[in-house]
Amino acid sequence: MNIRSLGVTAVLALIACLLVATPAQAATSVAFTPQTISVPKLPETGVVHSVTPVGTISLNMTATQTAYVVSKMRVNDATIRSLFDNEVVCRGPGGWSKNMVTGQNVYDRNSGSPSQDVTLYTRFLVHPGVAGTVTCTANVRGNSLSPTDDATYRLVSGYLMFADTAVTNATDGQPVQSSVSPGTHSINADSPVVRLPALDYFTLPATVQGLNVVGDAELAVCSPSTPCDKTKATQVKFTLFVNQWKSDGTLCKTDSSAQVTQDVAYWVHHKYVPLNKADFTVSTAPGCIPRFNAYVKVEWLGGETAGIQGTALGLTDSQGSATTHASDMSHAYVLPY
């Protein structure tokens, strides 16, 4: 058997293996089919979202297991400026659920703005705490920002996947993650700094050598109930701080290298701001212990008022449905290594 035929044999064996395995195993990743998303116009009061499921994945999990779910969506070609939400809804055994959503307005296809092509990630840790199957569905949520006309935009690519099925937990057996509480947490001239999202003190197993820390913030331009000039923008600086501590309570090590400053126009309205510290190495210097905290320092620099969005409440399960759910928005988490 020569090398070429060995390769062909291996491919055929793989295909046969997949054909056998597929019916017995739920998909743990799925690529979204490109499609046109229809979104309704603004009603006279309130807001109505269309909710379009675009992919589902499942994973059989143990009681102690933590998995990492990631949804990426790219949209463009909007007929009218519209809200685009990338939402993931996860359900598990015993009624467990965890949901998350990021959102941003996608500008119309003739606007000439970079905001007419938007990519959003929604990503978090899932840990039902009891054994069973976790199923996660990705939804495109949205609405036209016109009071008179429905709109469409195009989901051009994306995926939903379990990017890791064996995330290391903290010593308390829980995953390290935290979401910002409901409401918009304002920043303005009088109160220019908030530290959100934030991970309170946590301890990792001594075998951990480093941390990948992610802080995903959702910035809202113009805090509710504040004066706002819709022709202007807000300027905000985001810095992800990661700290390691000593046994005597003093600082062992800190990092603030992940940072970005955003200048966001009112009409973008919601701006997804991801920060990622991929390689915070655990220090073994004298006195240092594997105890950490982390947060995103959000500094209002000028312009219109702004805020960090917390968990969204009362989201309809489908368009116009009576049943609703909550989805976390700004949040942070850790992938130890």
Binding site: I3, R4, L6, G7, A10, V11, A13, L14, I15, C17, S29, V30, A31, Y68, V70, K72, Y121, R123, Y159, M161, F162, A163, D164, T165, A166, T207, Q209, G210, N212, P274, N276, A278, D279, T281, L335, Y337
Partner: protein
């Protein structure tokens, strides 16, 4: 933390499973072990949005050999951890951060016993993707 070895890219004739590389980051491919190796081997593949790693795992007595190619259009670190069947490990081995490269390399991942699995993670500027590969 030990550094992994790299060497200039070398084309290989064996293309098993490479043609099935999927568009979804993190999609893992495992296949039947090679019939010609003294120790069992398995191909592997893992990718984020901007980085791709693929190669062959060789399952020795106390070590997992990793022969790989790594391509990235951003910056990426690779972490590899070998485990015995009962979860014993010597901890992760990590590459230094590689930016905008196409390289090949090899690594020997030590395991305190008979290797049963290896966990490989790619961590780049936007995403970390990990896969667990088991001894055939």
């Amino acid at each position: 933390m030990r550094k992994l070895h790299t060497r200039p890219t070398k084309r290989r004739r064996v293309k098993a499973a490479v043609v099935l590389a999927a568009a979804i980051p993190g999609t893992l491919i495992s296949a039947a072990p090679s019939a010609v190796a003294a120790y069992p081997t398995t191909p592997f593949e893992l990718h984020t949005d901007t980085s791709q790693m693929k190669g062959t795992l060789a399952w020795y007595q106390r070590t997992i050999g990793v022969d790989y190619t790594l391509k990235t259009s951003s910056c990426v670190r690779v972490f590899m951890t070998g485990y015995t069947a009962d979860g014993a490990t010597e901890g992760p081995n990590a590459t230094s951060t590689s930016c905008h490269v196409a390289i090949s390399g090899n690594a020997a991942i030590g395991v305190p016993g008979t290797p049963a699995s290896i966990r490989i993670c790619l961590s780049d500027v936007t995403l970390t993707v990990c896969g667990e590969f088991k001894r055939p």
